[in-house]
């Protein structure tokens, strides 16, 4: 259906496209694939579950100091007071940790959902939230496949909380707080290309240690956070989601809008004119 529609659109909608989404049609495909975003490679094989990054994150972002973790194996999620958590899992290779936070998708569902562009994919890579634009509709939360944006339900001036890869630090040339401070070097900060190369290298050098999979390389159309792990990512609670980009799911619909906007009124007007003639005599009778 969407393919048909797009073909249909190609023929008819070239002018229509300019009407409603012209600017974006040019801008959007301009290759989020080509920009070499910055990101972080997280290595589960190195993480010892010290939770230090949770404290660093809270500190860097003015969030409350995290509660000490009593039991690693109780799975926690991020929330309006914590942008990242490290959870432990009992896996086929013993206890393995995983840090979760916003994945900073290459083509973020949240940003394409946002009607005010408050959620924004920066050229550097981080997906940031801009409070002065946000109207709190929470459509970003509905759309994010990783359920990462969190909302302050108990505030009259609520914010969306999620990891922004320490965008302010990045602007001054620093690395994100978590990546700077990890004592076990489980977090490797760099451009996406560097991350992929580094991940490949680690897998090749140590094939026994790693599962041969880089989570985030293709998930959701590619993400800036990527995961290496000793076990299948599903054992660590990561979702098995589609490889294609999420905004692409609405493209078919959005692309059909301009053509409907051009064709339907013309069509309706046509019927209106046609029926007018037929009915003229009746109408005259009535009035």
């Amino acid at each position: 259906m969407s393919i048909n529609r797009r073909g249909f659109f190609k023929v008819l909608g070239v002018t229509g496209a300019a009407l409603a989404i012209g600017r974006e049609v040019k801008a959007a495909p301009a290759g989020n694939g080509e920009i070499d975003f910055r990101g972080i490679l997280y290595d589960s094989a190195r993480c010892k579950g010290c939770h230090g990054c949770e404290y660093d994150c809270a500190d860097a972002n003015g969030l409350p100091v995290p509660e000490p973790v009593k039991d690693d194996l109780i799975v926690r999620s991020t929330g309006e007071t914590r942008r990242t958590v490290v959870n432990g899992y009992n896996t086929s290779k013993g206890k393995v940790f995983i840090k979760i936070q916003c994945m900073h998708c290459n083509e973020p569902a949240c940003a394409s959902a946002c009607l005010t562009q408050a959620m924004h994919k920066t050229k550097a890579g981080p997906v940031i939230w801009r409070g002065e634009k946000c109207m709190g509709c929470r459509y970003c939360m509905v759309s994010c496949p990783f359920d990462m944006p969190k909302f302050e339900y108990h505030s009259a001036n609520p914010k969306i909380q999620k990891c922004d890869m320490c965008y302010n630090r990045l602007k001054t040339g620093e690395a994100p707080a978590c990546a700077t401070n990890c004592p076990n070097e489980a977090l490797f900060y760099g451009t996406r290309r560097q991350l992929i190369a580094e991940a490949r290298k680690r897998i090749v050098e140590n094939p026994k240690l790693y599962a041969d999979y880089l989570y985030g390389e293709h998930e959701a159309g590619g993400t800036c956070w990527m995961y290496l792990s000793p076990v299948n990512f599903r054992e660590l609670g990561l979702k098995n989601i589609q490889k294609a980009s999420y905004p692409a799911l609405t493209k078919g619909f959005l692309y059909s809008v301009p053509s409907i906007f051009v064709l339907l009124p013309a069509f309706l007007l046509g019927i209106h004119q046609a029926t007018k003639k037929e009915n003229q005599t009746i109408e005259e009778d009535e009035s």
Binding site: R138, A156, T275
Partner: protein, 384 residues
């Protein structure tokens, strides 16, 4: 008018006034303490009753306006002329109140003008499209309805200008409706893994559009059966007699579009190969919706049309409406993160606020009906 004023203690008033008062208090609390103070929404389920019922379902029921204006102004089916105004009024108020309920759900409503004044156009966003269409469609409906206001005020010159704009507004309105009725479904396209597979498919927009036709018409049938009783004194005997054939005609259209809708649902079901899911609790729920609230009312519409049975048609209309509520809630609330550990069940406060919205709308509806020529026929001067 005096008559209506004298009856203050009607059952409707006795129920609606306290509910509205409590609702207003809750709305104050909501803006003062945050959305979490009155709703049960969670981080996983950020949209609940206010979006899933008030906005998504309410707008589907308001679909009658674009269908009826299409029939009367575009296809020139003159026999439906007498229900145009009341349907458009209903549609307009539904948009103002149900789409307006969206404002209650916004965490930072003071920024709502951002996407309107154009400093931040999220043109890739389906919600952006839907919000704009709501706004424009309200204007189109106001234009469609405005001759009634002019007649009430006795503004003859303006009446002529406004009447001249009707067809343009209708064409514009139908286009907008087609797009935002389907757009409401398209909102959920990105929630691919979050909606139960029996309700998620890439055709949600088409389903929402097609079902909005019979949802809207069932609402017209239902609303007509009530207004013709409550406001009987205003309706001319000619219009009153015309009502049954109108209901008959509408039921035929309902049956036809429901057949198309059911067919589509079956096609999608077969295409997605969901046989295994049928024998699960969600599967039974799905079957109940499809058989009990689509197939059954469709058959009833067909049957009662043939049998000329108005009462049965009304039953079918009510069943259809229940089915629409069920369907919209299944996509937006019940089937949304059906696998989440913490389920969302609306709080009593969310329900009261929803009722407040509905009751206030009915109050305004009654206020307008009692003053403007909506059910009543237009003054003589306006007919030429």
């Amino acid at each position: 008018m005096n008559q209506t004023k004298s009856k203050i203690f009607t059952p409707f008033n006795i129920i609606s006034v306290p509910v509205i008062l409590v609702g207003l208090v809750l709305i104050v609390i909501r803006f003062w303490k945050g959305i979490g103070a009155v709703t049960n929404l969670t981080q996983e389920i950020p949209w609940g009753l206010w979006i899933g019922f008030d906005v998504v379902t309410g707008v589907a029921f308001a679909g009658g306006a674009y269908v009826v204006t299409f029939m009367v102004y575009i296809l020139k089916m003159k026999q439906y002329q007498s229900i145009v105004r009341v349907t458009v009024l209903n549609g307009f108020l539904a948009y103002v109140f149900y789409a307006g309920a969206l404002l209650l759900d916004l965490g930072r409503p003071w920024n709502v003008i951002n996407p309107i004044i154009g400093n931040n156009f999220g043109v890739n966003s389906v919600l952006f499209l839907v919000a704009w269409h709501f706004l424009l469609y309200m204007i189109a409906q106001l234009i469609e309805f405005s001759p009634a206001i002019a007649e009430w005020l006795g503004a003859r010159k303006i009446h002529k200008v406004l009447s001249g704009m009707t067809v343009a507004a209708v064409i514009f309105g139908i286009t907008l409706s087609t797009l935002h009725q389907s757009g409401l479904g398209a909102l959920y396209l990105m929630a691919k893994e979050k909606i139960h597979p029996l309700w998620y498919n890439e055709f949600i927009p088409v389903m929402f559009f097609v079902s909005s036709i019979f949802a809207g018409l069932s609402m017209v049938i239902f609303e007509g059966s009530i207004t013709h009783r409550v406001f009987a004194s205003q309706i001319s005997s000619k219009d009153h007699h015309a009502q049954n054939p109108i209901v008959m005609g509408l039921s035929k259209i309902c049956a036809g579009t429901m057949f198309a809708y059911f067919f589509l649902q079956v096609l999608v079901f077969i295409h997605e190969k969901h046989w295994g899911l049928l024998n699960t609790p969600m599967g039974y729920w799905y079957l109940l919706e499809m058989i009990g609230f689509v197939l059954l009312p469709m058959a009833l519409f067909f049957y009662s049309y043939r049998r000329n049975n108005i009462l049965l048609i009304r039953t079918a209309a009510i069943l259809t409406m229940l089915g629409i509520i069920l369907n919209r809630l299944n996509v937006t609330v019940i089937g949304f993160r059906w696998d989440a550990t913490a389920h969302y069940i609306p709080s009593w406060m969310e329900v009261v606020v929803t009722l407040t919205v509905i009751f206030t709308e009915i109050w305004i509806f009654r206020w307008v009906i009692n003053r403007m020529p909506v059910l009543r026929s237009s003054p003589e001067w306006a007919k030429h």
